[in-house]
């Protein structure tokens, strides 16, 4: 079963070809990784999928629904959550409030119901709190829910971002460099967490540089270089692929 299909996607920015004819598909319930050297076009592709960039050509489908012309916030509603490479938390707000942001697209309380303080409104607020707390438990941060997000240590800030993304109940969770800046222990915890997320049936797409981690945790790897997909398959096979080795280490003469 395919959850995400990327079909012949190309992107040009200001006359420069950033992505050329990229195609691959991701299976439901697996951990996928998108890798490639610096400047390979990974982040551009990520931004195309999440609706921040509009591809010049090609199609992207999430669970059968086309993502062409869908704005970033609608993409989340359709079941695709993301985290940011450089962590974008609402630093001035509490940890709990940050995670509650993830519930926004799964709730519908309006201005009117908030003003009338209706029962349905109170119940929804309660359930948003409850769901957010559950995700904080999931990432192991429940005890810090009232802390200001900006005051947390780096590793915890990453977790808040994961919990916030998970709270939007994604079918596909895209993590942009989740291991960057983590200690060895935190990385081991990340791997365990990724497996637990997969265990719930959520598909994961990682953009990562940490090869040991990728090799250990991925079911499937997509490799890009110069804006093109150069390989795609199981980690072990991808690592032996001469084109991949060349992309990373350079040509052997």
């Amino acid at each position: 079963m395919t959850i995400l299909e990327v079909k012949q996607v190309s992107l040009r920015i200001g006359g420069l070809s950033v992505l050329t004819d990229v195609s691959f598909s991701l299976n439901k319930g697996a951990i996928h990784s998108l890798i490639g050297p610096n400047g390979a076009g990974k982040t551009s592709l990520f931004n195309c999928i999440t609706g921040f960039y509009r591809p010049t050509a090609g199609a992207i489908r999430l669970d059968g629904t086309s993502l062409a012309r869908v704005t970033p916030h609608r993409v989340v509603r359709l079941g695709l959550a993301r985290t940011f490479q450089n962590i974008r938390l609402f630093k001035e707000m509490t940890v709990l409030e940050n995670v509650m942001a993830g519930c926004h697209c799964r709730s519908e309380g309006s201005i009117v119901s908030a003003l009338l303080r209706t029962r349905a409104h109170r119940r929804e607020e309660e359930s948003i709190r409850e769901i957010s707390r559950r995700w904080l438990d999931f990432v192991g941060l429940r005890a810090k829910e009232q802390r200001r997000a900006g005051d947390l240590p780096y590793g915890d800030r990453r977790r808040v971002e994961w919990a916030r993304a998970l709270a939007s109940e994604p079918k596909l969770l895209m993590l942009d460099e989740p291991a960057a800046g983590l200690t060895h222990t935190e990385k081991a915890e990340l791997i365990e967490l990724l497996r637990r997320i997969r265990g719930q049936g959520t598909t994961i797409l990682l953009i990562e540089h940490d090869m040991p981690l990728i090799m250990q945790v991925s079911d499937h790897v997509v490799v890009m270089d110069h804006g093109q997909k150069i390989a795609d398959g199981e980690p072990a096979a991808v690592r032996r692929n001469p084109q991949v080795i060349e992309a990373y280490l350079g040509v052997e003469e």
Binding site: I13, G14, N47, F52
Partner: protein, 301 residues
């Protein structure tokens, strides 16, 4: 025909005021991506500083051409320095702050200048006693005074000099480099703070010259004259394409002409003139924020 030429003249003169002030908005915006709310007030202060110099110097220089020219240069230098000071005191400490705080601070800086002049003048218009006469030439049905010509010619010269400075000198290039890529500029050995100060100096000096011109041309100054002028000059900068120096000139002249000719159309009339100007501002910001000559800015995440 005579009416047309007269209106053309009026439009060009009004437009050159707008252009002189629009340049400051555009340069500061280019370098710092900051909307300098205080800029209109700098123009107003420039007029008053010029007035002060004119009065102080009148016993030696008189209040004719010599006195006005000295007032122009003196005001440009002093008010240029004032612009640098404002950047130093009010904007530089906030370079990493949220944009909302920076905007409110800029607003506060504008109020300080404005209310200081209010306090000094008692809120009354002050006469600008330049004595330039009405000597001029009759071109067919219209009369063009020497001061009108002087105003147009010196505005054109100033803009030409600025354009040459920006395109031909190392500091001018550095200004463009900083507005394009601040980090790369530092790696070239450019002291970004120094360039920002320079930008504020030049922008404020040009606005001050505009202020002294306005005093000499209209004969009086008022503490509130910077507000509406600032808003319109900003409109001119936006129409031309904010960040672009030729755009500021083009936008200023366009707006000046539109305003003058627009208010002579019977059904529009002068009372709707400002509505049309602000309408144009909104139209451009919403539909063509890059203006006529501006470059597209790709906002990245």
């Amino acid at each position: 025909m005579g009416f047309f030429l007269q209106q053309l003249m009026n439009g060009l003169i009004l437009g050159s005021f707008y252009a002189l002030i629009a340049l400051g908005y555009t340069m500061v915006f280019g370098v710092l991506k900051l909307l300098n709310f205080a800029h209109g007030d700098i123009y107003m202060v420039g007029g008053f500083v010029g007035l002060l110099i004119l009065k102080l110097g009148s016993s030696w220089l008189g209040s004719g051409w010599l006195g006005v020219v000295v007032a122009l240069f003196g005001s440009a230098a002093l008010v240029g320095a004032l612009g640098m000071l404002i950047e130093r005191v009010a904007y530089r400490p906030l370079r990493q702050a949220p944009r909302l705080s920076v905007l409110i601070t800029a607003l506060a800086a504008s109020m300080v200048l404005n209310s200081a002049v209010l306090a000094l003048t008692g809120g009354r218009p002050v006469a600008f006693p330049a004595d330039l006469g009405f000597v001029g030439y009759d071109l067919g049905p219209i009369h063009i005074s020497v001061i009108q010509m002087a105003l147009l010619v010196s505005t054109l010269i100033l803009m030409l000099v600025l354009e040459l400075f920006v395109s031909r000198t190392q500091y001018g290039r550095a200004m463009r480099a900083v507005s394009y890529d601040m980090v790369a500029s530092r790696l070239m050995g450019i002291d970004v703070s120094q360039i920002v100060s320079l930008t504020f100096f030049l922008g404020s000096a040009l606005a001050a010259i505009g202020g002294v011109f306005a005093g000499s041309y209209y004969g009086s100054l008022h503490f509130f004259m910077g507000f509406i002028m600032g808003l319109k000059a900003f409109t001119a900068a936006v129409i031309g394409g904010i960040g672009s120096i030729p755009g500021a000139m083009l936008g200023g002249l366009t707006l000046g002409l539109l305003e003058t000719f627009g208010s002579s159309i019977p059904f529009i009339g002068s009372e709707w003139r400002d509505v049309a100007v602000f309408g144009a501002l909104i139209f451009f910001l919403v539909l063509k924020p890059t203006g006529i000559l501006g470059k597209t800015m790709v906002e990245r995440i």
